[in-house]
């Protein structure tokens, strides 16, 4: 219990991922949804790096994966916030319930 190993990091990652998932489903403010997406991506990165450190510490494959996850996260936030601005300008709202312009 007291010696921290791979299991502890993976369970921490699972808890953070579940919190992020809960937020993505329940939040109505779109900016908060993006924040919860970032929590989920960080949880995945923790799992990747924990595996990298304890399963393949020399080849560093997990850390390379984590770097590319960060790149994709940065691109996702930039495009997501641009879309939020654009919708906010047209609808004067960032409530998730009002984002139904793609429905028909």
């Amino acid at each position: 219990m007291l010696t921290v190993g791979l299991t502890h990091f993976l369970i921490l990652s699972a808890i953070l991922f579940a919190i992020g998932l809960f937020g993505v489903i329940t939040q109505r403010n779109v900016i908060k949804v993006i924040m919860c997406l970032e929590i989920m991506l960080n949880a995945v990165n923790i799992a990747l790096i924990a595996f990298s450190q304890s399963v393949a510490p020399v080849s560093l494959t997990g850390q390379i994966f984590a770097i590319f996850v960060m790149v994709v996260a940065a691109a996702e936030v930039a495009v997501g916030i641009a879309i939020i601005f654009s919708i906010y300008r047209n609808h004067e709202s960032i409530d998730m319930e009002k984002f139904n312009i793609l429905k028909w």
Partner: protein, 165 residues
Amino acid sequence: MPEITYSITFYLMAAIAVAAALGVIILRDVFRAALSLILLFMTVAGIYLLLHADFLAIVQILIYVGAISVLIIVAIMLTRDARQGQPLGKIKWVAGIVALALIGVIAWGVINTAFYLSSTPPLEETVKPLGNLLFGNPGYMLTSEIAAVLLLSAILGAIAVIREK
């Protein structure tokens, strides 16, 4: 680092990370939620340090704390009516059950799996090996180039979406 210090640091970091993640969801004020998110990012950087990933800890601080949180705060400032928080949606019980079930399934699977753990000690410093892997010959050169194209297209896409007609 002695074993007991490592464990205490891990449990402290994990507790702060989970509390900060809950804070992002619970806090009604979006700006306070963003500050809680920054605390979470910094704690995750500390967890990377515990995992001997020094380069990734610094990159985490630079990209997440430095860039992404600034973007999010700018978004909060520009969408002013977001300041008063909206209540949770009606599906929060379903979402809570799904999240708890997810934690349970993953924890059950992780605890009951015998991972093949490597006995080699982790690398002391990872900057040079990571650079060699990212830009070296048997490495991830093509992926780095594609990441650059992805970032460029994300910038162009963001400008195109946000431009006034």
